[in-house]
Symmetry: C2
Subunit: 158 residues, 2 copies
DNA sequence: AAGTTGTTGTTGAACCGTAAACTTCTTTGC
DNA sequence: GCAAAGAAGTTTACGGTTCAACAACAACTT
């Protein structure tokens, strides 16, 4: 037989919270995407620009960038290709590894990020930060860190 | 001039939490999708089956269903059409409103849900419920309710 | 040093979601 | 009653994501 033990169903509270989570995430995404569309960007492209802007020389190896923005390599290739035609990024060969490709943000990309960032941050505030109680917001951070396995201070403060 | 006041940037903590959120959500989605793929479903299809199974006669108006699973009407039409070819749902005319279409779950759809549900619930536990501290999990629920504007008990308990 | 294995990044096809136009029907207001 | 406005679903075209196969290179292995 396969390992089909009795399923540990969620209790009523857990199920309510789980559905609240699904609803909340969907709502947040809707708002952020809608807002970024005014700048001709989606969340994936925006994140690419953010991570490039935070890196030395505004550049990052494709595989490194893919990990940071949680996109598959294939998806990143396609997305960066599109952004390249828009003049937001460009690509060059990696000097240290001839397999590698380095994506770098253009001046135009940088300018678009500077333009879009304030509105985006305001969206994040309106959609999440402002409506949520600060203690709950901190708990949200701990919860998501636990999900991704970030060590986090589980013990007592000293 | 446009209303470009000084942007209220996120402070270091808020930004860390926001990124934890993005990472956590992505991780949870990955796991749930990967698990459901074993049953030939994605999260959108699974949710359709769940909501149909909870409704009288295992049936729901398309627009009603669309609201519950947070899909656009267009998307739902496509998804249900696909599921219909798989034999998981079927469609019939709505008796009370001749514009309406009623989606209903087939026996096959019901059987697939019964088969997939335990594994899915286990995924939700492993990805979210189990790793997160119970108090933080409750706070997560309150936070997401605040995001979607669910009234919620903000005051003191009586 | 040659062969194996793993990594990096791209390609093209299939698939899915989005957006806008459109049909049919209901509801509203005069 | 009738025209206008609105709602329910579908359709089509387009764009983006996924998936599997692939080419080029690096890193081990012996």
């Amino acid at each position: 037989m396969t390992t089909t033990l009795q399923p540990r169903w969620l209790d009523a509270d857990q199920q309510r919270i789980w559905r609240s989570f699904l609803n909340g995430v969907a709502r947040i995404n809707e708002r952020l995407e809608a807002e970024l569309r005014c700048f001709g960007l989606d969340l994936g492209e925006y994140e690419i620009l953010v991570h490039l802007s935070e890196s030395p020389d505004r550049s990052l190896r494709m595989s490194d960038l893919a990990d940071r923005v949680r996109q598959s390599r294939s998806r990143l290739t396609h997305t960066v290709a599109r952004m390249e035609t828009k003049g937001l990024v460009s690509r060059m060969a990696c000097p240290s590894d001839r397999r590698g490709v380095i994506a770098l943000m253009t001046t135009r990309g940088s300018e678009l990020l500077v333009e879009a960032a304030p509105a985006h941050v305001e969206s994040v505030r309106r959609a999440l930060v402002d409506p949520v109680d600060p203690d709950d917001f901190a708990a949200l951070g701990r919860a998501m860190d636990a999900v991704t396995g970030v060590p986090g201070a589980t013990g007592v403060q000293d």
